[in-house]
């Protein structure tokens, strides 16, 4: 029973990791790659860790596994946020089939302050990135 | 596997030395880091590698028996890593200062002290 659980979790984990890897290789722009990274990999690795927890069936291992998963869940999106906005600063273009860019023109180039959704930028909303 | 590791060590040495020989200050530091890694790997490989048997005594045991990795090279490398870390951080700052004061990245410009003055 436990073995089967391990087979399943580990297989799923590996598959998601593989998907994340393919994703990061195939996705057409930085933002999409980041997006893929934070999801598939997190889940995949979580599952692999879970497999370990199931295998050892030990409180200390389980707590450690939970700790690792929580850490990943906290840090991965924060990292994604940081690198995502950085990518925008660097002027990395969105994929050319992107439909909307609300962020355009909102960053102050020198202070990196970010404007909220105020009136005078409303009309930009439907503009798509070139 | 040891053969591959030996080749890898050689490559690390080669690339470290090659990088130190460049004229760019930044490459110098990267070379130092690479070379340091190469040396660690050399010690590690020469201490003979063992898979999956860390030199840690089991909870229930009092002595380590059976097959286990030689802990000594590990301890040595650990010490070497820490020391290299100290040296590397110093080197990074040294290079930064040097660049700021000398205003060049070109190591070839740094040859006035060898000349007779």
């Amino acid at each position: 029973m436990i073995d089967i659980l391990i087979y399943i979790t580990s297989s799923l984990g590996a598959i998601f990791v593989l998907l994340a890897a393919i994703g990061i290789l195939r996705m057409p722009d930085q933002y999409l790659r980041i997006s893929v990274n934070t999801k598939a990999a997190t889940l995949g690795v979580g599952l692999l860790l879970a497999a370990a927890a199931i295998f050892f069936l030990d409180v200390s291992v389980t707590t450690r596994v939970i700790a690792v998963i929580i850490f990943i869940l906290i840090t991965a999106p924060v990292g994604a946020h940081l690198i995502g906005r950085t990518s925008y600063f660097l002027g990395n273009k969105l994929w050319d089939k992107s439909v909307i860019d609300d962020l355009k023109g909102k960053y102050n180039k020198s202070t990196h302050e970010l404007k909220g959704d105020d009136k005078d930028s409303k009309e930009d909303k439907s503009n798509t990135e070139e | 596997m040891e053969i591959l590791l030996a080749i890898m060590t050689g490559i690390l040495y080669a690339s470290g030395i090659y990088m130190i020989m460049r004229r760019s200050l930044v490459k110098l530091i990267l070379g130092i880091v690479l070379l340091g890694n190469g040396v660690n790997l050399l010690i590690f490989v020469l201490g003979r590698i063992t898979k999956g048997e860390p030199p840690i005594i089991d909870d229930s045991q009092k002595v380590l028996e059976g097959i286990y990795a030689d802990p000594i090279p590990q301890a040595l490398i650990l010490t070497a890593i820490v020391i290299s870390f100290g040296l590397q951080s110093f080197a990074i700052i040294l290079v930064k200062r040097a660049y700021k004061v000398l205003k060049t990245d070109d190591l070839d410009q740094l040859n006035t002290t060898d000349e007779d003055s």
Binding site: - | V39, I43, L46, G47, P73, F90, L94, N111, T113
Partner: protein, 502 residues
């Protein structure tokens, strides 16, 4: 406690460094404390020396782990002697530093790094463990990196970059050698290695390992063709720093070579000839380097290289007479080179310049100081009966006995060029009239200093000069000591027995 006497030099210096770090900003406290600390350290060193002298080689098994399982410290006569010399140089430099190094530098941990450096030197001399030796080397080089670059002036940084890169490389080669050695014998205790390496069947690998050690230590001790960092950097920091570097840093490399080649890698014709060949080239290269310099610090610097060759060659001759000569030379060299750079600091303070072409008239204006400085200069040349002369007898004798006439020639060449260059230096700096140059306006000249500060400038030089005179005129004592050390070194079973006696 009685067993740990040889560790006292380490304990006190580590303690001093810690205390000095706690009083980070108190420059005046640091000055006083460091000088007092060095007086204490000298006392300790004398005590250790006498203890070893009277009671023979001492060992401490740190952690109470029997050799070869822990780190063993071995205080044999050689180590004790070097500890004593370190303490002497250390005291002189620390006094000199209080007035010659500007407060801005002192405020940034100069003294505490200085004590770390002394700690490292003492540790390197006392340890009986090859990896531990590496660690001591690292504390030495990192301290020297800091001392050589602190202040961050232009040429200092230039020198420091090269100094760093090549010394780092040396450490890496040292580690490589260590890895190979461990791979061959599986132990790190030098006495243990000495026994186990004899059992290694593949002698070629042992030779390669020796060559790696030779290069690792050779870079640090500045032998040909590994010395290039030295002329690029030693003259750039303040003179006090150059002094301690000149006196002790390269010598610790020589020490390591002596240790390794008398304890571990023995009786190898290839290695001995290699050492001698390198020594000849070192003497030659260093000598002609000194010949063409006009910066007095650089002249002294090339002499460091040149005279290292004397010692390395003696080591290559590998007879008891030769080793005695090497030890004597080492004793002489540590004191004299420290003093030379202190003197260069004094000259700079008087003339605001290091360039021979731009300074002169010292003899006319400072006759007594000039005579004081003449003694170390003559000792450097080896004018008999001053200190540099005596070891040459042993070295020449040994070179004849080994029929190494090229090395004999190199000895003569090195001595001659030292003579000529120092005479030239004397003629330029001391005899010649002061050329008309513009002196910097914002410069505190020696004449304008307070009497107390002047005294602190001159005292260390005088102190070391007296030590040099003692080495010269008390050559009998030094030679007996050297012979004793040489016989200890040539009979490495003594060392091994001392380590494993418990």
């Amino acid at each position: 406690m009685i067993n740990d006497i040889i560790l006292l030099p380490l304990v006190v210096h580590l303690f001093f460094s810690i205390v000095l770090m706690f009083f980070w900003n108190k420059v005046n406290f640091q000055k006083t404390f460091s000088v007092c600390a060095n007086v204490i350290a000298l006392g300790v060193a004398v005590y250790v020396f006498m203890f070893v002298y009277n009671n023979g080689t001492q060992t401490v098994q740190s952690g109470n782990w029997d050799a070869p399982f822990g780190i063993t410290f071995v205080g044999d006569m050689l180590a004790a002697t070097l500890v004593l010399l370190t303490a002497i140089s250390g005291l002189a430099v620390s006094i000199f530093s209080t007035v010659s190094v500007i407060n801005a530098r002192l405020r940034f941990g100069y003294f505490s790094v200085f004590h770390f450096l002394l700690l490292g030197l003492n540790g390197a001399f006392l340890t009986g463990d090859i990896f531990n030796l590496y660690v001591w080397f690292e504390i030495i080089i990192i301290s020297s990196f800091v001392l050589i670059s602190i202040g961050g002036e232009k040429n200092q940084l230039e020198g420091a970059v090269k100094y760093f890169a090549l010394n780092f490389f040396a450490s890496m080669i040292f580690l490589t050698a260590l890895g190979v050695l461990y791979g061959l014998v599986g132990t790190l205790n030098m006495a243990d290695i000495s026994m186990k390496i004899a059992e290694v069947e593949n002698r070629t690998l042992v030779e390669i390992c020796a060559v790696l050690f030779l290069v690792g230590f050779g870079i640090k001790s500045a032998i040909f063709p590994l010395y290039f960092w030295l002329p690029a950097s030693y003259h750039t920091p303040p003179s006090a720093v150059s002094a301690i570097f000149a006196g002790l840093l390269t010598k610790v490399g020589v020490y390591a070579l002596i240790r390794v080649f008398t304890l571990i890698f023995l009786d190898d014709v290839f290695l001995d000839n290699l050492l001698i060949a390198l020594a000849i080239m070192t003497i030659f290269s260093g000598g002609i380097g000194a010949l063409i310099q006009t910066n007095i610090k650089k002249v002294f610097m090339y002499f460091i290289i040149c005279h290292i060759g004397f010692m390395i060659g003696g080591l290559g001759l590998f007879t008891e007479v030769a080793i005695a000569g090497v030890i004597f030379y080492l004793v002489h060299d540590i004191i004299i080179k420290t003093n030379l750079f202190l003197m260069s600091g004094l000259i700079y303070r008087i003339k605001s310049n290091f360039n021979m072409k731009k300074i002169g008239g010292l003899y006319a204006n400072y006759p007594k100081l000039s005579l004081l400085m003449a003694i170390p200069l003559f000792s450097l040349i080896g004018i008999p009966p001053l200190s540099g002369y005596w070891p040459k007898i042993s070295l020449i004798l040994a070179s004849f006995d080994a029929q190494q006439y090229w090395f004999f020639g190199a000895l003569i060449f090195g001595s001659l060029i030292t003579l000529v260059v120092i005479a030239k230096l004397w003629s330029e700096v001391f005899w010649k009239d002061q050329p008309k140059i513009e002196f910097p306006k914002k410069f505190l000249f020696f004449d304008q200093m307070k009497l107390k500060d002047k005294f602190l400038f001159v005292f260390p030089i005088t102190f070391l000069t007296f030590v040099t005179l003692y080495i010269g005129f008390g050559a009998e004592h030094i030679q007996q000591l050297s012979q004793r050390i040489a016989s200890e070194l040539m009979n490495n079973q003594l060392y091994i027995d001392a380590v494993f006696k418990n």
